[in-house]
Amino acid sequence: MSNTYRTIILARMGEIALKGLNRGKFERQLIDNLRWRLKEYGAFSIVQSQSRIWIEPKDSNPDILEDKETADLVLHAVTQVFGLVSASLVWKFDGDMESIKEHAVKLTDEILSEHDYKTFKVESKRGDKRFPLASPEICCDVGEAILIAHPELVVDVHDPDFIIYVEVRENRFVYSEKLEGHRGLPVGTAGKGMLLLSGGIDSPVAGYMMASRGMQLEAIYFHSYPYTSERALEKVKDLARIVSQYSGTILLHVCNFTDIQLDLYKNSPQDMLTITMRRIMFEIAEELANKQGCKCLITGESLGQVASQTIEAIQITNEVVKTMPVFRPLIGLDKEETCNISRRIGAFETSILPYEDCCTVFVAKHPKTHPQRKHIVEAEEKLDIPALVKKGIEGIETYKIERVSRVNE
């Protein structure tokens, strides 16, 4: 028997709704991003109405959401698009009050087959004022029908185990669960930033956080083969791919850093090595960012986390960047909070894979934690920094990182 309803998706916008005159620009970007994110699942009609977005499979693709597993994947993909507070799978159908009751009961059957719920309530909205019953009456009738079908349930309007939502508009809609979105603003509404991506936990989270403010991302990774392995590079590509689920396509620039690092090692003092290295990384990243039209650098630094992230060390690396801000969205976060975000975006398991690197040979046993100007002047005396930066820029290889399509997942 074919369904008497069609499954569609209802998504709710967050912060965008607070925008003033340029709200339209944000909404258009959000819809574009949704269309891009759902491309692999086929064609959808995506229509915005007030603070909500209705996503409906097009006729070329009518049954994509009727299979529960696929529908869940699509719903999950929708919630990964920045700018949405939540999204639900919704049954769309026509008919009178009887039809609404039937669908509400059937939805309840499905919910109870998966969950051991005891209490519920019904909420309704009537957009179509021609409908003969008012919202409270719709709630009562639907509630009664559900209780008749499931006498073991109890109504609890304050803290129910589940809620059945009923909406009466041009069509009728019932739904229950809301899957939380990642909120934020649509990517593409806040320019482009250059993320300094390592293989660790922090930098992918930093990228995700800036993308959640609408920023498009490019990334630079400093590769020191043979001190770091091919696998470490593969891991960084995997991390970029995970972030790209949220941020859209990322251009990953891999800078061959080995010779630069050896030069630093031979020509600057041990205890300043991390600082001189980071200064050069920032310079290379800034030059590349300018070339690529990025308007800021993004790092995963968090104050005090390691020797190179004291305020003195941050100041002294920060000052080499002259033409753009350096954003450090994790600066005030506790490591545990960062790990939680990393888990939530699905990066943690990849971040903790053990092919860290053998760059530890370049890490001094006792790095300077409070470097001063005189130290850095001394440390860079013997270095030809412009030449090193040039070498870094010339040795860049760029990869286009896109999220893995469903087929390969």
């Binding site: 083969y225 043979p226 392995s229 050896l262 860290e356 530890t360």
Partner: protein
């Protein structure tokens, strides 16, 4: 041309093996299930039987004592767990060392949780188990001894004859399982004369194919099967057998056995001059001097294992490390650590493992490359 010095991990299949596999798999009548009653089945069974006979001849045992498995680990698992499970009255004690392959150690760990007493003998700097401790440990209650013939990380060779002697003196009922994965094709193996009761082998370490293991169980020794099913191989190892994997193994074993003594002499010479050159560069040889010459474990000052591995990889020379390089946890090889090798040395350990096909030129090229690596990458 690349230089492959990771033959203890796996080997390149012989061209003859590749040809044989291709011909068998593409043949019109050579794909049958040896259990089928029709002609194709009979052909496959005959093929399998010939391979078993050939392998039995090469290893000096009866073909009824051989079972085909999927890998060395399966053979090891079956021997260790299958023997003690089948023979509860043989005793609750098993004696081994901590330098065994994980296939053994994990089996022993499982048995320990089931209530068996596992005695791990300490090993000396030569990688050999303490034989006095062995003499003291074997008693009435000892069901099984399990040892590795040649250690996969260092090449150290088990003093098998002495162990058999001790076993015979202390408790003739105690059985011995020998893990021969690394010694097969490199040391002469004559099962009927060695005095072992069970032995495990693997195909892909002798230029045959991955996916094939061999298990020897001496007549009269009873072992519980690990894999149950259609009762193939006299109920000892169910699952459809693969005639082409077996004939590939038989062929590779035949080739390896042909000049086994000459190869051992040649490899000893190569290893000796290679290790001398490395020592001259300041490296420390961690393998015992009397180890099997096919394996050489070396520690390079100033280079963590993985760095050296990638430096060599850049020059298309492939080796292995056991210690993983990570800034947070530095894991070193448990084998080296049991042998009492210092942490600083173990951190920098690299394993070169050779095959009879490696040449003097390749090893010389490797020494040259290591010199270049020191010049370019030493920090």
């Amino acid at each position: 041309m690349s230089i492959y010095l990771d033959n203890s991990a796996t080997t390149k299949p012989l061209p003859e093996v590749a040809r044989l596999v291709y011909e068998t798999l593409s043949g019109e009548e050579s794909y049958g299930n040896p259990g089928s009653l029709h002609r194709l089945g009979v052909l496959a069974e005959k093929d399998l039987d010939e391979s078993a006979a050939k392998i039995a001849r090469l290893l000096s045992c009866k073909k009824e004592e051989l079972y085909f498995t999927s890998c060395g680990s399966e053979s090891v698992n079956t021997s260790i767990m299958g023997y003690v499970h089948q023979n509860p009255r043989a005793g609750k004690k098993i004696i081994s060392t901590k330098t065994e392959h994980k296939a053994s150690l994990e089996s022993l760990e499982k048995l320990s949780k089931e209530g068996y007493e596992i005695v791990y003998l300490s090993v000396g700097s030569d990688g050999r188990p303490d034989l006095d401790a062995l003499t003291a440990a074997i008693d009435e209650n000892t069901a099984l001894l399990t040892f590795t013939h040649v250690n996969n990380e260092t090449g150290s060779i088990l003093p098998l004859e002495k162990i058999i002697e001790i076993r015979n003196k202390k408790n003739r009922n105690t059985k011995i399982h020998l893990d021969c994965v690394q010694s097969l094709g490199k040391l002469p193996i004559s099962l009927s004369r060695m005095g072992v009761d069970m032995a495990s082998f693997s195909g892909h370490k002798i230029h045959a194919l991955k996916g094939f293991g061999l298990l020897y169980i001496k007549t009269g020794v009873r072992v519980a099967p690990l894999i149950l099913g259609g009762g193939q191989q006299r109920g000892m190892r169910s699952g459809t057998q693969s005639p082409y994997l077996a004939s590939a193994f038989a062929l590779a074993l035949e080739e390896a056995t042909k000049n086994i003594d000459e190869n051992l002499v040649k490899m000893t010479e190569l290893r000796d001059s290679f290790s001398k050159e490395l020592a001259d560069l300041g490296a420390t040889i961690l393998s015992p001097y009397d180890a099997l010459p096919y394996v050489l474990n070396v520690s390079f000052p100033s280079f963590q294992s993985e760095t050296m591995l990638h430096c060599l990889e850049e020059k298309e020379i492939y080796v292995s490390t056991i210690s993983a390089c990570s800034s947070k946890t530095k894991k070193i090889s448990y084998v080296l650590s049991e042998m009492g090798v210092k942490r600083e040395l173990a951190n920098n350990a690299v394993r070169f493992s050779f095959s009879r096909f490696n040449t003097k030129e390749e090893l010389e090229q490797t020494v040259t490359s290591i010199k270049e690596i020191y010049e370019k990458y030493k920090v």
